[in-house]
Amino acid sequence: MTDLERLSSSGSAEERALLQAARVRRPSAASRQRALVALGLATTATLAPATAVALLKWSQGACGAAWRFAATKWGTGLVLAVGAAGVATGVATGQVAVEPLEAPSQPSSGSSAVRAERPPTASGSGSSIRVVPPLVDAAEPSAASAAVSASPPKRVVVAAPSEVSLIDSARSSLTSGNPSAALALLSEHRRTYPGGSLALEARVIRIEALAASGRLPEAVGEAQRFLTQHPNGLMSHRVRRWLDRHGKL
């Protein structure tokens, strides 16, 4: 079969311009990333390669330095959380500072618990924004958690957690067996990023976390609402199969 000469080379100037305009049209990189996430091929929906590199450098450099700095200055008073890397790697850039944290009224001796705090919001002081170590339940001590000295604990203040970091932390909490922490982070995500680009992913993780917390009826209700609102797409496909596995479809 012999192909005809294409209009892009044989057509009028107007025809060529129109076809050229059509060819440069392309979906956003974020939409492609969402597809990778939906297919289970990527972990975050908005992480561009350049961002990922920046995050890696930051987490290996600035963040580590901040923790090291704090630990050095105040001895071993800081408590590091397991999920810290999840939050840390989600924070792209920002100032890093350290400020004192009020000492807890009832210090739990020997406990490796870390309290999650609300991630920063726009209503903050406007200067540095607080980032919190991710929530780790007191009942879930981990090898990476280490309560260190009784000297006054400090609060590490760095950039705001991004939407990605919240979702990653929630996912990490869930996979490490702490669905309550995941739910807390997801609630925070909903408050901080209403209508965010990872909202659907957050809802899917929430379904899992509810079920893992023993709140299966709630999880099923949430899954059914999800399907009602979003009957199509890969996230819906995953939710549908989740319901199917639990015999609720």
């Binding site: 192909d3 892009s8 025809e15 049209r25 492609r32 939906a38 091929l41 609102q229």
Partner: protein, 211 residues
Amino acid sequence: MSPARDQMAPAPAIQGEESLAVVDACLPAPDSATPTRPTAADGTLRTWPERRRLTALVKQHWDFVGRLIRHLGVGDEEVEDAAQQVFLTLDRKLREVELGRERAFLASCAVHIAARFRRLRGRRREVSEAPLWELPAAGGDPEQALFQQRRVEQLDSILGGMGDEHSTVFVLYEIEELTMAEIAEVLSLPAGTVASRLRRARQLFQEGLKP
């Protein structure tokens, strides 16, 4: 629920999606040919090379599929959903798709899925919440960008008036530059039919450009 990140080999007997979060936690894929993880799409075990192939195909052809679906008459608010369904189909049939034939396979899926979306138009409730299209690169010139946008809208209007039979052949040939043989295969049509539809589509295109 226990983390599965460190369980690489032998392959655990995960049937279906043990946990949505666990699947995510398994990535990125290591350099191993051991089939260890389920896919997110159909729950079957997928080797790491297959996962890498699928990832590469999404990265390579996402723009092509999204643009094709849009030009086949699916609304902006549904293009992403439709494109995801195309890649979901690819995920399911990956082992059946020959190396080097992926683009034709994706085009064929896109044509069918776009047709389904057109049929269901108005009956669907889901609306995309995130912007889909990159702004046209017009060298930072807003006037040029606006001009570009108007051209795209004009093309959409012309394609919309062609009818699906002709617009599909036109888009595949003139915009996506598939060969006529590829189009015949994608649409399961005789070569002569493709040629006649293309000729007619060109006439309609040129008529649409007249003031």
